[in-house]
Amino acid sequence: MAGITSFGGYIPRYRLSRMVIVQNMAWYFPVIMAVAGGEKAVANWDEDSVSMAVAAAYDCMAGHDRKGLDALYFASTTMPFADRLNAGIVAAALNMRENGVSNADFASCMKAGTTAMIAALDSVQAGSRKNVLVAASDQRRTKMATMFEMFYGDAAAAVLIGNEDVVADYLGSYSINCDFVDHYRGQAKEFDYGYEERWVRDIGYGKVIPEAISGFLAQSGMKIGDFAKVIYPCYFGGTHKAIAARLGIEKERAQNNLHAVCGDTGTAHPLVMLVAALEEANPGDKLLVAGFGQGCDVLAFEVTDKIKDMKPRTGIKGSLANRVELTNYQKFTKFRNLITADLGIRGEANPNTSLTVLWRKRKMLLGLVGVRCKKCGTPQFPVYPTCVNPKCWSVNDFEDYEFSDKEAKILMFTGDMLSPSVDPPAVYGLIAFEGGGRTMFDFTDCDLNQVKVGMKTRMSFRRRQTDNMRGFTGYFWKAVPQVEGGGK
């Protein structure tokens, strides 16, 4: 039976208290005080929808062979490329097979994540694919002092769809599609344009979600009481409750919309909430998940015994625990490039990305794939044709070796105030991987004062540079020092 065979999540480490926004911007638009409670998750300056999707995808693939994936579906409304398969970047970061796979972007709608799941489930049910990874992610920039700024958070989630060792059996789906435009983002526009909230609440979320869920129940013959959790995004707290009341969902069975701890994460949100629900689910639990946006997708699952056999993962719960408060509102606005700060002449360099080099070295640059010498066994990165071991020096006698999932230890580091950075000092250092291999990486998600020689690191796929002149976004891997409790 088709269903979810694994799941993972990623919520960035920075949390911005909504009170911080209020303190800084309520003078301009006092209405934001109405939703001043809680905090939202904020992507670091070097993260975007693609990098967060990679993090969630790795989390999801813990204990699963990434080479066994037949397709990767990436859902987002904030993809860095309008023409270049964004799912392809995620796939390369996962070092997926290239031949015999079919990747796709699902875009332009808040429910693209659930639609991608339906497509994945359909193809597995049809027997045309065995393992499809669905990753949904959004990192939406918002204008300052808006309700969107208050509500939106950044996150990603991923589910693996397959038919072996299924942890949540797929019970079916139902969708409504209609051109209800509560907000939109036109071509080449930076920010969402929203319409009156009262209408969005009453005729949008409050009507479309219940209709879709009712439609599913009528189609399947199931009852709302059959579900241990009903999962639907809606950042209006009152409306979220009203939907539950209208459908007869008991309070504790309505999955928390995470407004208080991470905000609404857009395309990712139905999956983020689903993963959060799966993390707490018991075998036999039935889950109903809805994705809202120009209609509504509804999918039903039943958790199996296999959920107990899953390898530990960070997930939504672990990501939420890895938390650092961003107390500086200006820093947040700079991270999102809402304000202009001077990087200095040194920061003006804008090297073009050689696409021929990127193609030739795609495994290295996107997958952090090095080699292991077949003769002496030394893992190495970067790769030169001659083995780095001075006692070996054999030529071109290598096999691929992945560093992306390897822990390492810091050998030397610095925090550099001269290097142009959005978040100075630029922290970087030389790290040595468990099992061999070493090289120098930028560090991220760390506070220089907490970094020590000998500290463990884990690798994280990040946005390396944005070439605003040409519109190209480059990625590479950074090391994240593992400070207990995430630091601070």
Binding site: T378, T414, L418
Partner: protein, 402 residues
């Protein structure tokens, strides 16, 4: 069997421009300034020079590519001129080219000249190099700078020897204090003010744990040398010849960066210096080396280099530094006698030759207030790149017969 370079080539003239922020001068002016002094010192005609080697590093922002800038600036008589670039060893590489050319017998008299005009880029520090590192490296290398690259060495050195960072910082501070004291005695230096340990320790942080005064200056400058065989030198009437005793180069091959290394020393310097002592016939460098000009791009570089030159024992450089072993008149091996990169700044292509210039002056007893008593061997050292991936050059020159 190779016999090495010892005493096969003599330096008959050297020149060095005023180093500093030469806002009103271009590289051509700096080269002519150094060359004029050099030619006068050698006492030969420009037309006697048969070939030249030219060191410059940041051609993108300085002179441009090729060796034409030298041939044009000095109006050389259509002779062979070769441009060499090997990071911070570029100046010493130019010297090496000229010396080897004479030693091979291909030419009688050759010129080595280096220049860098750094103060035309509009910002402090060395030019940004993200577009100068190659099309692959620029897609993945960490966002690093020169101070950051070397600053890392302090963290691993402190960890390796279990020394508190505050102690390492204090030794680093003394390195800078000593160089400033020397530079204050040198009219050609860029920075001529003595500094105190407190000033150094309290200077703003550039790259942890390096403060501003742990970093060398950034200057414009040029230096050059004319070399020939000892026989020709004598035929020109030269006495008390200064000859080349050793020239060594060692480059990283990725071992430090990608295989095995504690981050506590310079693999290349350690090797190049051993080879240089062997070539020069020096058995006990701590006793026999009279003076040194080492690559103090950052105070931590100089500190650690004392061990790789086999002058200080491993882990003991901070003690030697604090004991004043490298100070002028400290009773040990005076280091950065002219003020070092610390006070001269680091116009990259010129630095190696600027170091040799001071050794040459000292060996001829022409170093003024800085003059040491009867020096025999002077060692110069350049370290280009980064602690984990670099080019190291060592030169030893001395009195003929020493």
């Amino acid at each position: 069997m190779a016999t090495g370079i010892r005493d096969k080539v003599a330096i008959i003239g050297m020149g060095c421009s005023q180093f500093g922020e030469r806002w009103n001068d271009g590289p051509e002016d700096l080269m002519v300034e150094a060359f004029t002094e050099c030619l006068q010192d050698a006492g030969i005609e420009k037309t006697d020079i048969q070939a030249a080697w030219f060191g410059s590093c940041f051609d993108e922002v300085g002179v441009g590519k090729s060796a034409l800038p030298v041939s044009m600036s000095l109006r050389l008589p259509n002779i062979s001129v070769t441009r060499v670039e090997n990071y911070c060893a570029s100046g010493t590489e130019a010297f090496r080219g000229a010396v080897y050319a004479v030693a091979s017998g291909a030419y009688d008299i050759a010129l080595a000249i280096g220049v860098e005009k750094l103060k035309d880029i509009g910002y402090g520090g060395l030019p940004e190099f993200s577009t100068a590192m190659g099309t692959l490296n620029q897609l993945w290398m960490a966002n690093f700078t020169a101070p950051g690259g070397f600053a890392m060495l302090a963290t691993s050195y402190a960890a390796k020897y279990g020394i508190d960072m505050s102690e390492v910082k204090r030794a680093m501070a003394h390195v800078s204090v000593k160089s400033h004291a020397n530079g204050a005695l040198n009219p050609k230096a860029h920075l001529r003010k003595p500094v105190t340990e407190e000033q150094v320790l309290n200077s703003p942080q550039i790259a942890y744990p390096l403060g501003l005064f742990d970093c060398c200056g950034v200057s414009d400058g040029s230096a050059c040398a004319i070399v020939t065989t000892p026989e020709i030198a004598k035929s020109l009437g030269k006495k008390d010849l200064v000859t080349v005793k050793a020239l060594q180069l060692s480059l990283s091959n990725g071992t430090e960066f990608a295989f095995d290394w504690d981050g506590d020393h310079f693999v290349t310097t350690s090797k190049a210096s051993s080879e240089a002592y062997r070539e020069a016939g020096i058995r006990n460098p701590r006793e026999e080396i009279s003076m040194m000009e080492v690559h103090d791009c950052f105070s931590i570089t100089e500190l650690v280099t004392m061990e790789d030159l086999h002058i200080s024992e491993r882990g003991k450089a901070p003690k030697d530094v604090m004991d004043g072993f490298f100070d002028l008149g400290g009773g040990g091996v005076p280091c950065q006698v002219d003020g070092g990169l610390k006070c001269f700044g680091h116009p990259i292509g010129a630095s190696g030759l600027r170091m040799l210039y001071e050794m040459y002056l000292q060996l001829h007893g022409r170093a003024g207030q800085r003059q040491l008593e009867d020096p025999k061997f002077g060692l110069t050292h350049n370290l280009g790149g980064f602690p984990f991936m670099n080019v190291c050059s060592i030169a030893i020159i001395g009195k003929q017969g020493a």
